[in-house]
């Protein structure tokens, strides 16, 4: 019990004292996670919409891979990205390994299938008569997708939040491809793992509070957007 109380006190102290390293780690975490979720959303929603609305040969296979990707263990993703970015690997010349860019790539890889899978499921669930009605109303293809996105807003925002949850919680791949370098690629989750391994539970608890607060604030904003009354 003492450990928890000490941890809470330490967290308050670290935040109030304006610990530069904590702010740097928090900033890097925010930067990496928001970039990753932004890229995943940008790619995942159009791809999910395409998968949900169209029939083509091999669609089932694509869906199987997307669904497998939804459960892809981050360390597996980390392993393959490390091999790709390794100095002698196919993309080694880019020099991305042990940079925040590598962490973003890993996080996109683990969150993208979630956003694609859930978006595609939401669109596949749309009533075919509604699709017909939208066409009958004189919508262009883009207008049709826009209307459907509005109608599936709850599910789409849930997909983004699920992806964000995955990104914020991700540690294995970030550790592997980022290297947890102090002042550079260290993020909240990798930092927590390191502090626990060194027995600094108070610092780890402090970091967990910051991570939870970030997750709460971002999810609160997304939930507010999700639940906002919509007007065409």
């Amino acid at each position: 019990m003492n450990l928890f109380i000490e941890g809470i006190l330490k967290a308050i102290e670290m935040i109030l004292s304006g610990d530069r390293e904590i702010f740097k780690i928090t900033y890097t975490t925010l930067q990496v996670c928001l970039t990753a979720i932004f890229i995943s959303t940008l790619i995942g929603i159009p791809f999910g919409v395409f998968l949900g609305l169209n029939s083509f040969p091999g669609k089932k296979i694509v869906l199987v891979f997307v669904n497998i990707g939804m459960g892809l263990p981050p360390v597996v993703a980390g392993l393959y990205i490390t091999m790709l970015l390794w100095r002698s690997g196919p993309l080694g010349h880019l020099g991305l390994l042990y940079t925040t860019h590598a962490i973003v790539i890993a996080q996109v890889l683990v969150s993208l299938p979630i956003i694609i899978g859930l978006t595609s499921a939401a669109f596949q669930q749309m009533d075919s008569k509604m699709l017909m009605q939208i066409k009958a109303l004189g919508a262009t293809r883009f207008q049709k997708v826009g209307l459907l996105l509005r109608e599936t807003k709850l599910a789409i925002m849930a997909a983004i939040m699920a992806g964000l949850g995955r990104v914020l919680a991700e540690v294995g791949a970030a550790m592997m491809v980022g290297g947890n370098i102090k002042g550079d690629t260290r993020i909240l989750t990798t930092s927590m793992v390191m502090e626990v391994s060194q027995g600094n539970f108070d610092v780890a608890i402090a970091l967990s509070f910051i991570l939870m607060t970030l997750a709460f604030i971002i999810t609160f904003i997304l939930t507010s957007l999700q639940q906002r009354k919509q007007l065409v």
Binding site: D127, M132, A136, L137, G138, A139, Q143, L147, V232
Partner: protein
């Protein structure tokens, strides 16, 4: 009367089954045509083909004397029509936004939209519901919104696919009466699919009976009901027996 839509040698085939086989069919401008037939006869398929929502597997769809295809290029023609289906299929926003949706998709001028929406909300007696979420309406109210959403477009042809079938009798009777007055006022060419001869008799000028994908008889509503041919007589006579109860 001018021919607004024609089908020539049209066939719709799905899973090796012929759903629609219409050698010749014409919708005249200004007509109020009812289409009746048993379930699965091809009524809704005929509606979809005529309204350019579905392309036939064979044959031609002719709009004002010109052959057209139901692909993305037909958007211009589809925007001259309006369709109200059996389910109101309203969007999760207020009544007013639902009614103006088609105009907004056509990027209509805001001032014109505001003028038209007031007129049509009033015409269908739903102005008091303007700010209410469309998904919280009763069946009758939702269907009024659906019809207002279609008629606000001032379509060249109004397609109605069993819009009253899910309504209770008093609601249905009132709505049919109101719609009849509106259609008479606007002289909108209407293609009205129904499985209810009472609705057809009350609302339409002419009637087509469709059985097993074929248009078996077409003519003035009264004539078709009073003098059905051999192919449609068993179906229509069942209705007549029901009315005499």
């Amino acid at each position: 009367m001018k021919k607004i839509l024609q089908l020539q040698e049209v066939k719709v085939i799905a899973k090796k089954q012929t759903l629609l086989d219409v050698p010749e069919f014409t919708l005249q401008q200004g007509d109020l045509l009812g289409v009746i037939g048993p379930n699965g006869a091809g009524k809704s398929t005929l509606l979809k083909v005529l309204s350019f929502l579905q392309a036939p597997n064979e044959g031609r769809v002719v709009y004002k004397g010109e052959e057209k295809h139901a692909n993305t290029l037909s958007l211009d023609i589809r925007r001259r029509f309006a369709v109200a289906m059996q389910q109101p299929l309203l969007f999760d926003t207020n009544v007013q936004q639902n009614v103006v949706l088609g105009l907004k998709l056509r990027k209509e001028n805001k001032k014109i939209i505001n003028e038209k929406v007031d007129y049509w909300l009033n015409k269908f007696q739903i102005d008091h519901l303007a700010k209410k979420n469309a998904l919280s309406l009763s069946g009758g109210e939702a269907q009024r919104v659906n019809l207002a959403r279609a008629l606000i477009l001032e379509p060249e042809v109004l397609f109605l696919d069993e819009p009253f079938s899910a309504l209770d009798f008093p609601t249905k009777a009132q709505l049919i009466q109101d719609l009849k007055e509106i259609l008479n006022d606007t002289s909108t060419t209407t293609f009205f699919v129904s499985h209810d001869l009472l609705e057809i008799k009350h609302l339409t000028k002419s009637l087509a009976v469709i059985m097993n994908g074929n248009v078996e008889q077409i003519g003035y509503t009264k004539e078709v009901i009073d003098q059905p041919n051999q192919a449609v007589a068993p179906f229509l006579n069942k209705w007549k027996e029901l009315y005499t109860l």
